[in-house]
């Protein structure tokens, strides 16, 4: 399968199975698009070219096809097997939140359950559980999530200290990450993050009016001023990875302005993602919005590409595909690993396939306090990888998105093997932009 597309004034070929990428002229692109159909070269778009030019371009394509880097066949894949290894954990350290964001999938942090913080006892057991299940994997990831993790900062610190105290003895390397709304972020916490957090994600949606419209405090006030003030202080002191991570909704379909605004504020690591909500929600993005959203990504990628040549260089999370050093095929087939190598733990110790299943009794896998863990669902999640998703197997973007989010598939399509199509087209557009930027920057 070959995917052709135009971006940033160039035409690209992506050989799906090999991952090869080429920049081509319009003649070559047209030849590829007609590769398996009879063509009268004296008519239509081909009539602009001489026979010599056409033969030359065909010969170049043939060379690549012979080499196996174009129009390559789907290889035999390794069989998906469940090995029981868990390497990443989302610790929902608090089911409480100081904000009431209108699009929150966690229902104000409580995940439709009791508002509570995780105790140190539960967190410690969760770390022990992760180590026990991690097999020979050395790198273990723990993401402090919520709710708002800073509402339970003492337990975050105790948990990190505990994991650090045993990681050498257990031959593990913990990578901690944290996602916070930044409202409670102070100097001492920033210093702690710099010492211990491999990555820090700060939730800010962009322009003040956009942010304040949906990210409000419990008393209904916009949270922008505090969040932004603290985020700027954080950025100045940050040592290590971070992201300013926002969500765009039906209210800001011109989200490229938010991305660029955040860059103008001084941030250089930015992620703004589409909201995922039922169609009936006032903030939901609808199928009819897709053309507008795709046009917005086109606007963004042009400005992004230009800014990266200047002192306003920045990194947009969804445009950062590296065509040279991407993940191996195994990773591309498995995807996020939810329910299999990645789990979430709720404040009461319940284990779920990922943070988006927290509180859903149908998806409870066990409990770290009780020492229970049923592998029936993890086996199901492990076996249902990209190769089981019929629609995805035919899609050119399959090795980049891996079949999409398992939780979205289950929650919005009722089947882990049915991709949530609302996000597919946006995903494909982002991947095209990412490949184009990376290709052009590397060819310079």
């Amino acid at each position: 399968m070959i995917h052709t597309f135009d971006c940033l004034g160039h035409s690209f070929l992506l050989d799906v199975e090999s991952g090869s990428v080429f920049i081509v002229d319009s003649l070559t692109k047209a030849l590829v698009e007609n590769l398996n159909s009879p063509v009268d070269y004296s008519r239509g778009e081909f009539s602009r070219y001489t026979t010599e030019e056409i033969e030359e371009a065909k010969s170049e394509l043939d060379e690549l096809i012979k080499e196996g880097v174009l129009d390559s066949a789907e290889p035999e894949h390794k069989k998906a097997e469940y090995n029981g290894v868990i390497k990443a954990m989302c610790l929902n350290i608090s089911h409480m939140c100081n904000l009431r964001c209108e699009y929150c999938f966690a229902d104000g942090g409580s995940y439709s359950g009791k508002m509570m913080n995780m105790s140190y006892e539960v967190a410690k057991k969760a770390i022990d559980f992760l180590i026990e299940k991690s097999g020979h994997r050395r790198n273990l990831e723990v993401d402090f999530f919520g709710g708002e993790p800073l509402l339970n900062l003492d337990v975050v610190k105790q948990t990190v200290a505990y994991a650090r105290s045993i990681e050498k003895e257990k031959n593990k390397n913990f990578r901690f990450t944290i996602t916070t709304n930044a409202v409670l972020l102070d100097d001492e916490t920033i210093d702690f993050f710099n010492e211990e957090m491999y990555n820090v994600v700060l939730s800010i949606d962009g322009r003040k009016e956009v942010h304040n419209c949906v990210r409000k405090t419990a008393t209904g006030e916009g949270s922008y001023d505090l969040a932004m003030q603290n985020a700027l202080k954080f950025k100045q002191k940050r040592v290590g990875q971070y992201y300013i991570r926002g969500t765009y909704t039906a209210l800001n379909k011109d989200f490229s302005k938010d991305v660029l605004y955040l860059n103008d504020c001084g941030f250089d690591q930015i992620s703004i993602e589409p909201v995922v909500l039922p169609d009936t929600h006032r903030l939901a993005l609808k199928k009819s919005d897709i053309p507008e959203l795709i046009a917005e990504y086109e606007t963004l990628v042009k400005e992004y590409f230009e800014r990266r040549k200047t002192d306003k260089w920045f990194n947009f999370f969804h445009f950062m595909i590296d065509v040279y050093h991407g993940p191996c095929e195994t990773k591309r087939l498995v995807g996020c690993g939810a329910g299999n190598e990645y789990v979430a733990v709720a404040p009461n110790g319940d284990i779920f396939p990922c943070h988006q299943f927290d509180g859903d009794g149908n998806y409870k896998l066990g409990n770290v306090l009780e020492g229970t863990f049923d592998t029936t669902l993890p086996e199901h999640f492990a076996k249902n990888n990209l190769l089981c998703k019929e629609d995805c197997r035919k899609c050119w973007a399959k090795y980049y998105c891996s079949g999409g989010c398992a939780a979205n598939a289950i929650h919005y399509c009722g089947d882990i093997n049915k991709p949530y199509k609302m996000t597919c087209e946006l995903m494909r557009k982002r991947i095209e932009c990412a490949i184009a930027v990376n290709s052009l920057e590397n060819l310079k």
Partner: protein, 56 residues
């Protein structure tokens, strides 16, 4: 080649040493709703793509 510029060839690694699983889980990176694995990096060929590199 006159009509084609090669950007990258055969980038999806399938050799027997792959699948070590030491790389980051995509949901742990920045997103929690719309992950892609394509923008992750292989732990064995780790480079920091979050930083500007002038001398490409």
């Amino acid at each position: 080649m006159k009509h084609i510029k090669v950007v990258a060839k055969s980038t999806i690694c399938r050799d027997k040493h792959t699948g070590c699983g030491e790389c980051q889980s995509s949901c742990q990176s920045a997103c929690k709703t719309s992950c892609t694995v394509g923008n992750q990096s292989c732990e064995q060929q780790k480079i920091n793509r979050n930083e500007k590199v002038d001398e490409r």
